[in-house]
Symmetry: C2
Subunit: 243 residues, 2 copies
């Protein structure tokens, strides 16, 4: 692995699922090319992304990570792979199982968050499903959001005083995932989330600890970090921020 | 691992996500206890399931698999773990990456299928979101269903003539996942799926090959196999079968 530069293939205009991969690469200080953010003339752009997916034997949907002759897909797998090779897993077999459990649960959470603004599916625009999204948002804020937040708050609490991390003694990739999910939720639902601050002190502290990591500080201030916007997973539609 | 009996914790009344785990255990001939299907007096039932989740350090949602002192969660992780330990992974690192890619894609597909009858979220009953479900079903049948089916058809086609399997020379757990997804889709959307038979001959053949495996034949005919019903992932509501 040692001399390969990773190639990340993901939509160039949104943080989306690709951002979970970028955060692991950045925190682990691994050089990578964010291919679709290169100019089309250099093989980038959406054209470059689509070409790479079409050329990969099992290419289906981004994100995809290439290294050497290998291409791997699915956000959970990519992040777990990077974490394993670059010191971002909790120690021991049990730590690895627990990381996959929490990352998988965060993945489920992200799908539900996306579903709030697209309850009828990604084939229709938000504008075609605004009424349905309003109903989905109310149910999400009342039931699912508190359920997930209180679970992750409890995980940090139960981690044997080794706060602010979810698992083990050091930061693992699931802490980076939780950071991104909380950032996204605060962007999408600022009013709802501000009401949740008091009941989630461990999550708030974890968020600050991730943000303070020197490599991430400089990444988050760079142009490599794509701002949240209304094309991605986490969208701010004030009419949905009703929790 | 050799002398442990697995304990599966999952809702006792639906095939749901637990069925993906059961199929791997059954095909690999691994003894297991389906704990929540035991009587409550023997520690089973929904009460037994909820107690086990509450007692597990990071317990959150079923399915959960226990062996010895270890509990692992998340359907993808559980199945990959079992496949790895019991000969249901394609050979080589690349085979393992590809398996996680296809299993992850099937997982995404399943979440979208569930979303068709619950577009506004699981907190509301189907009866509270029938109109929204009808719109979601139309978009699903037009866009997402053909996209996923043609992808998996192509995977089998491209597997170097080693049909009917998705990856490698032998059955792997992703073939069991595809089987369950196709069975579920046929149950939920019989009219829509019958129109797709001609364009997915490889998937149809794969389905028959899985069903013909001796251990699965006897499993599928047994009471251990929970029939599809209107409480699970795959639900037959004729009004949604419109593709």
């Amino acid at each position: 692995m040692s001399h390969l530069v990773y190639e990340l293939y993901y939509w160039p205009m949104i943080p989306g699922r690709g951002e979970f991969v970028r955060l692991v690469l950045e925190d682990a200080d691994q050089p990578y090319v964010d291919v679709a953010r290169l100019p089309e003339a250099e093989g980038g752009g959406i054209a470059g992304l689509k070409r790479a997916l079409a050329e990969a034997p099992l290419g289906f949907a981004p994100p995809m990570l290439k290294f050497g002759q290998q291409a791997i897909s699915q956000t959970l797998q990519i992040c777990h792979f990077l974490a394993k090779h670059h010191g971002r897993l909790p120690a021991g077999a049990s730590g690895e199982y627990d990381a996959q459990h929490l990352a998988g649960s965060l993945y489920d959470f992200v799908v539900e968050i996306h579903n709030v603004h697209h309850p009828l599916g990604a084939a229709l625009y938000y504008e075609e499903q605004k009424a349905e999204a309003a109903r989905a948002a109310a149910a999400f804020a009342e039931h699912r959001l508190p359920k997930y937040l209180s679970f992750f708050e409890r995980c940090i609490e139960q981690n044997g005083g080794r706060e602010p991390w979810l698992l083990g003694t050091d930061l693992s990739y699931v802490d980076l995932w939780l950071f991104q999910v909380i950032e996204g939720l605060r962007y999408a639902f600022p009013k709802t989330m501000s009401k949740r601050t008091e009941s989630t002190p461990k999550i708030v502290a974890a968020n600050e600890a991730v943000r303070a990591r020197p490599r991430l500080q400089s990444y988050l201030a760079s142009e490599r970090r794509i701002p949240f916007n209304e094309h991605g997973l986490f969208r701010h539609y004030p009419e949905l921020d009703v929790g």
